[in-house]
Structure formats: structure tokens, C-alpha cells
């Protein structure tokens, strides 16, 4: 697996109605991931969904618009997902960015490299504690 430095995750706190879904009584708003990307690519949705299904305590509604991953009941669940993703991607760290922080960051960014740098400074960084601890057969052979 390729070494990834940082995985960026942009999330928002949304109600079902804000997602365009039918309202369900007593169902509170939750955190949802909007965009997940690393230096060179957007992470494939099927991988993100698989990690969600393996780790998240809540079930993803089948009618959820395609670009979202969630729901996460609280930030703890979101962090847990971030760690799992970090591990799967063999990334050094995850940068969790709220939508509000994204909106602030973009004001001062003029180029993609500016943007990524400023985004990093305004994110909640979670380092991968297990990075390189467990290596795959490929990892053992080539690292």
C-alpha cells in the first residue's frame, strides 16, 4: 500500500431534512462526511462505505445522497472512523475539518497548494498511532 501523508475529511452536522431525506420523529441531527481526499485522489466511496459498515455503530440509510458518508452520532464516533480510515490507508494522519472551518479557510486560499496548507493548519489532526506497526506481506518485503 502506498504511503499517504494526510487524509482530509470535511464533515458537517446535518439533520435528515437538510440531507433531503424524510423526517423521522425523534431522530436527531448527526455528523456526515462530505468529502474525503488525500494528496492525489478522492478516496473511492466504496472503500469509505466498507470502513463505515465495519466500524460505525449506526446504519447508513440506503436513501442517503451518494456524496455523504454517515451518520455519526457524535465526534467520538467520527474520530473512531477517522482512525480506522487512517489505518486502512496507511496514512500518517487524518485532518478533520468542519464545514465552518472549510468556509473560513477558503476565504484566504488562492491556489490548491495554499488551500491544502491552510486547511491543514485549521484542522483537527489525528496522528495514526499504528502507522507501520502491522505490515502487510508487501510492506514486509519492500520496506
Amino acid at each position: 500500500m502506498a504511503n499517504i501523508d494526510t487524509v482530509f475529511m470535511i464533515y458537517s452536522y446535518l439533520s435528515r431534512e437538510e440531507l433531503g431525506l424524510e423526517r423521522i420523529d425523534n431522530e436527531a441531527s448527526a455528523y456526515y462526511l462530505l468529502y474525503v481526499f488525500e494528496e492525489n485522489s478522492l478516496l473511492p466511496r466504496n472503500e469509505l462505505v466498507k470502513i463505515y459498515n465495519d466500524t460505525a455503530p449506526l446504519k447508513m440509510p440506503s436513501e442517503l445522497p451518494e456524496s455523504y458518508i454517515g451518520p455519526f452520532e457524535n465526534l467520538k464516533d467520527l474520530n473512531q472512523y477517522a482512525f480506522a480510515l487512517c489505518d486502512t490507508q496507511n496514512a500518517n494522519q487524518v485532518a478533520l475539518v468542519s464545514l465552518q472551518n472549510f468556509n473560513e479557510t477558503i476565504k484566504t486560499a488562492n491556489t490548491p497548494s495554499d488551500f491544502k496548507q491552510i486547511l491543514l493548519e485549521h484542522s483537527n489532526l489525528l496522528a495514526n498511532p499504528d502507522k507501520d506497526k502491522k505490515k502487510s506481506l508487501f510492506g514486509k518485503l519492500f520496506n
Binding site: G20, R23, P65, F102, N103, I106, T111, P112
Partner: protein, 588 residues
Amino acid sequence: MNQPSTSLRNFDPAFPGENWFFYWKTSASLWRGKLTECPAGPVIVPINWAFHTDTGENFDFGHTKPEANLAQLASLAEMIGRELVFFLPLTPFPFLPSGGVPHLLARVPSLNINAMAYAILDNENQINKLISFFDTRVYQAYRKFVTQLGRYFSEAGVACNIWGVEAGYLKNHYFVSYIEDRSVSFTQSFSRYLAVSKEENLNQTEKKEEGEEEIKSELLTPREEKKLKQKFTHIITDLYREAAREGLAGHYEGIVRVGFLGGSADDFFKRLVAANDWNEHSRSIMEFVGRDVIASSVLIPKIQANVLERQLSEMITTTLLPLKLNPATCDPEETSVWRPLTLFEIFERNVSGEENNHCWRNFGLLDFLERDYRWSFRVKSADDFFMADQYTQSKSLYFFHGENLDSGKLTYLLKVFMSGGSIILNRSRIADVEKKRLETFFIENNLEIEKVGFHTTLHNIRLGDGRFLVFEGEKLEELDLEKRLVFWHDVLATFNIPKVKIKAEEGLEFSWRERESHATEFHYEQMRRLSVYNPTSYKKRFMIELPKNFVLLKLIDETNVQTQSRPGSIAMEFSPMGSISLDFGLFS
């Protein structure tokens, strides 16, 4: 008259694509040479509001900066025989910093419907942010600008047309305007609108018009709030349209929608971390054309000999753009212009797709047409259905929602039916008045109503060549997709709409165009042109089975493609970036 060059100048920031000319990106002293080199066809000049004023109060039309002299530009174009068409923003323009709003007014960033700040990468890899058009200061300054612009055009004798442009992007198959906003400016003005509307409701004693949203209580359900936000957005959009129409008076031609490739939030992130996805851009061009929207590539970098350039040139620059800017060419009898083939015209309540239920896609119609009649249909806003001869002359099959009908639209729909046209009407949610009028029309004209039960109740009415099919759309929404596809297959089979069997590998894009036959083509009733593009990096196969009334006349612009003609079919193998067009003559 100077002969325009035949190829697009690559990497010239003043010509970012499809004959768009960014006059502020080059010296006025070079304008003449550049206009001469521009490919044939009208030159599109988007007006850069911020370039003519910093403050929104004082305007420069060449008094200080020669590049701001639009009259000089128009005069040069006239001298060398080039037609200029000005595009005035009615929404933020994504290729301009702050969306084109003057520097001192650029205070409140606009947020998209997911409350995310608009961020758009332009073709020079700069991030453009958009400014809210719901800021009252922006609106007031806009009014001043268009009034000054109109006065300037009149005084300087500029004879070019100005079109108001609603700029947007593609999201989940829908065109979404860049005016959509959820910023603090939007929220504040929306609250004021709610307060005023509530007050008006309290004072109002007359009965409200049917279907009109009523603001009853302090607490709105999220669904009601969403609907009112849409309505409020339409009101503000209309204010900008009205300002442009009034300010520019005789110079103003109307509104065109322009969709920008690479201009959505999804595109921003994709382009941020990876190269442009040419397959997706290629598909988006078709989706825009299918929504009657002019596609523009000004946000994406140009790559020489890319299939996308050929596709844009054929589908937009030489087809849709002239049709939109010169409505006279819409005449089906016009033989010199290729028009996108439109077998089906689908009128949707809301083309922005914000309200996703109870639409033709949910009924399975668009999935069916994309599979069996790919890109031979147009999805339009019900508001765009107005009385025009184009509908009574056209042979398209019309789809309409009953709830979008008012007295005028129903009258015209019945006129289309009586002229031999075919209509499919979803009668769910139709207003009682229109429902009764429709029933009365059938009874008064002694028309036989044939009733068929097939997943829903179908009422079939015939009058000469005309057909009126009425069904309950809501019943279809409950079915799984496979059953909905079978429904449309069986229903449309009764309309005898000719279908050409095509087998295209995934990634290939193709489109049909049509025109009437010339006097020299008298053997044929109509001419059709099929254009196929391979924007992928792989070899792809394409096969077409020709109906008996199709005659292959010629192959045009073969690039990286091998063709093999067999009796009744044509097989093609496309190398990466391959493309071809095939002309057919059709007889009865």
C-alpha cells in the same frame, strides 16, 4: 471580410473556449488581431462587472483603461466582419474572482445549498470564490451598473445584443444556478421576506390562490421552509433579470443558461487532487445539452487535439449556441442548421432538482430514455413552456405535470393536441379547476376515452393524429425501477417513435442532430447526424443497427477510428480520443 482561422488558439487566456473572449485579459491594442484569429461564429464577450468599477459607484468604459472600452471592441468587430454577443451576468460568474462582484462590494461569501462556500478552480488553477447576490448592496450596485451600461451602449451607438446569463453547474443530473445561496445575507433577507409575508397573510382577507405557499405559523416544517427558500430565490433571481431588462432596454435580448464544466463543488475537490476527468466533462456536455443549457469549458484547461474540443465545437459552438442566440434558426423548416434531435420534451416543475420527489426521474422516465433514446430528449422548466409555434409544429412527444398547468398552459397544451401533437400528462396533484376543464374538453368534443390499467390507470384519448395520455404519476413512484422501465417501454412503444439500436461501450458519448433536407437531398425526408466521441484512454467499440429507412450518406471528421460497414449495420472501433460523425438520409 477577414477569414477567421479554423482552429482554436490554445493556451491563450483571452480565448478560454467556445469563442468566449475575455477582453480584460489582453491589451486593447491586440484586440483586432485576436478577433481576426478567433474561429468562425459569433464571438461571446462576457461582461466583467468588476473590471468596470471598483466601488460600484463610478464606472469606467474606457475613460481610464482602454481595455474597458466595449464600444471600441464592438466597433473593431464590426470593421472586420465579426459578430459580437455580450453576456451579462444575472448570477455570479464562476470564472471571475468574487464571481465578478466589484472589489469593495465583495463582503459576504456565497454558500451553496449544502452551506459550503463556493470554491471554483479556473483554467489557470486559481481558486475563485463567489459573493452573495442576496446582499442588498450588491443588488443596488448591480442596478446602477446595468443602467449605466445601457446608457453607455445607447450613447456610444453599440449595436450588439446583450444576453442575460444564468450561470450554473451540474449536480445529480440537474442544472443548479450559482445564485443559489445559504449565506448570512441570504438568511437575513429570507427572514425579512418571511416576516413581511406573514404580515401580508394576516392582513389578507381574500382567499389565497391555489397552490400558493401560505406562511401560517411561527414554526415552519423543514419541507415548508425549503419550498419557501426556493420561492424566495426565484423572487431574487427575477429582480436581477428585471434590473437587466429595464437597464439595458432595447439592447437586451433575453436569458440564456450557461453550464460550466468543472464548476461544481464535487469538481473542485476532484480537480484539487487529480487531473481533469475528461470522461465526466464529455458526459456533462451531453447532460447540459439535454437540459437546453449551453455548456462552457472556460474553467478547464485546454489540451490540444482533445476530443472534448471537437465535441464542444460540434455540439455547442456550431449547434446549440446559434440556436439559442438566433431563435429564428429554431424553425424546424430551417435546412441550414443542425439541431439537437429532440424526440421527447420533458417539462419539469423545477429544473434545479432541489425538490427531488415527484419528478420524471422518480417515475423512471429519464432512466428509460437514457437507456433507449440516449440524449434524444430535452428536460425543460415548466415555466419555459409558453405559447409558441415551435410546439405545434414540432413532432416531439411532450411530458407535462398536471400540477404545473395553469389556464394558459392547458389551453396551449390542448392546442398542441388538436394540431396532431402527442402529450403525456401526469395528473397527480393537478388543480381541480384544470382537471375539470380537461374533462369538460373531452366530453364537449365527444372524444372517446380508452381506460387501461397498467401499474396505474391510463386514459388514452385520440383526435386525428393527436394523442393525449393521462396517468397517475404517484403510483409509479411506488414501483421498483425495473417495473418503471418496463412501464415506459410498453407505453412509449404505442407511440411508434423510431428507435435506432446502438451498442456503445461504456465511456463513449454520442448524440444525434437533425435538419430538414435541402433541395438537392429531395430523396430524403430528413437528415440526421450521429456524432460519437471517445474521451477515454481505452479502445472502445460502437455498433449501430440501421433501420430500413436510414441511408448512410457520408462519414465526417474521422479521427482515431476504424469503421466497418456491413449490411444493415456499422461497426466502429475507437482509439483513445477518437471521434467521428455520420450523416444519414431518412425516408418514410
